[in-house]
Symmetry: C2
Subunit: 295 residues, 2 copies
């Protein structure tokens, strides 16, 4: 698994670098600020899931190359969401991946614009002429990405998260926050890869289901890490959920039951793609990898 | 002209209302905050230009109806840009269209998210299945809109504008700021309408040229209004460009020469579409209307 992750991460970062603009000309600082957050680190889980979803359906190297564009676009959107979430008016975080957050380096105005620029650029990439996807497939991906990132997806999830700070919330609300804030973009990472791999409707539905379960596992593990790891281990302020009175799985269920829920979600993800052949092994291993981050 | 403007504005606002989500459910406040800025007022110049561009090429009522979707999407993007520009970290404005700015009503966090939500929703609208445009036309519109709104367009323009506050800048830099910050989205309003109207390459180029000139005229007039009108007339703080040390046409050329430049840009816009028939009269009248806002 480690070799697979390393290899795909390298491929994605090489493509992010060539797809991103060069930091020169009048917009140099703007582009530099986007590049800073894009290359400050990160596991590249979402784009790796896009590639693995495409690989689960086809071994055609050209179709896999085509999946790199939506993979990178989704990483741009993920990066923008981190920049905006870290802003003083939002979570007010100084550290991300062990480095100062975007607004700490470039100031608030530039950080807001870096996020806006990355989000817009993501859609520009998704609309670029493709040699292998047809226009209808590209439109389908754009629609899914926009829904996942929009008011009923990631942005709405962040809204709910902030609205419910210091509130006692129900398990249902917690699930909605997690599904919107994290789950939707992870699910659409799988869907974009599925479409690049030429998925039929059943395969697309199964990979979406895998995405929903793995997205939940991912968020549960994130909650656990925030509660149990140190700031040095996380590269961001540990225990910040608790200090902000945020609803989390450990706060609702305790550490042990939360661990079991992460394992259950991982098992559910793997069984969603039961009928897939050996080409889906990277997806199966990724599920285990995501779950094992805590244990 | 007034009847045309009133009628098209009504059509656009009716469609904005039906395309926008209803403010209920868990995301109610988020949607309400987007609706607040979307319906707080505005001349709807950009979407009217989209409709007028489509109308300059076809009288087919179905194609005109199809142009309403990109028209509204562009208005969503314009609204998001105003919300983010008004933030305390950016221009720090309390008033917009005579009403409190978004962050004054909903707080900074919600205002940032309202902008993010509107931008993302715009791309969702542009990717929705269309009964008349083919997927390639929709993709072309999405690409143009993303470029116009992105790092080398509107977002980049706002970056340059903020970076150059209190700097003595050259006329070239002022032109770049205006072209990126205002011109690009206005040009793409025309391009989107042209594509909906079935423009060929030459027609698309001519309508783009009209857009570039009218975008310049629009920004020159905005500069003039900021320098000469009262806060009550503007619905936003008058004289704010000067008090922030912003580069403007009146600061560089004085009021009279600036007025002449607005007239020149308007004339250039009208001559870009010289070969168009009577169906382009709304575009010709719109050019005069935009210029006459000052005089």
């Amino acid at each position: 698994m480690n070799e697979y992750l390393r290899d795909r991460k390298q491929l994605i970062e090489k493509n992010l670098d060539s797809l991103m603009l060069a930091a020169d000309g009048p917009m140099a600082t703007h582009i530099e600020s986007m590049r800073y957050s894009l290359f400050v680190g990160g596991k590249r889980i979402r784009p790796i899931l896009t590639l693995a979803a495409a690989e689960s359906l086809t071994a055609d190297p050209q179709l896999l190359a085509e999946a790199l564009v939506p993979a990178c676009a989704i990483e741009l959107i993920h990066t923008y969401s981190l920049i905006h979430d870290d802003l003083p008016a939002m979570d007010d975080d100084d550290l991300r991946r062990g480095k100062p957050t975007n607004h700490k380096v470039y100031g608030e105005a530039n950080a807001i614009l870096a996020g806006d620029g990355l989000l817009t650029l993501a859609f520009e990439l998704l609309a670029r002429p493709s040699s292998l996807l047809n226009a209808a497939q590209q439109l389908q991906i754009i629609g899914l990405v926009a829904q996942a990132a929009g008011p009923f997806g990631m942005v709405g999830g962040q809204h709910l998260d902030i609205e419910n700070e210091n509130n006692t919330i129900s398990f249902d609300t917690l699930k909605t926050i997690h599904r919107c804030k994290t789950g939707c973009l992870i699910t659409c990472s799988l869907q974009a890869g599925a479409i690049c791999g030429g998925a039929d409707k059943v395969q697309l539905a199964k990979l979406s289901e895998y995405g929903a379960h793995i997205g939940l596992a991912f968020q549960i593990v994130d909650d656990l890490l925030d509660a149990t790891a140190t700031t040095a281990q996380l590269g961001k302020t540990a225990g910040s959920d608790e200090s902000r009175g945020k609803a989390t799985y450990p706060a609702l269920f305790g550490i042990e039951e939360t661990r079991q829920k992460a394992r259950d979600a991982t098992a559910a993800a793997i069984s969603s793609i039961e009928g897939f052949d050996l080409k889906a092994d990277p997806l199966r291993n990724l599920a285990d990898y995501i779950c094992s981050r805590t244990f």
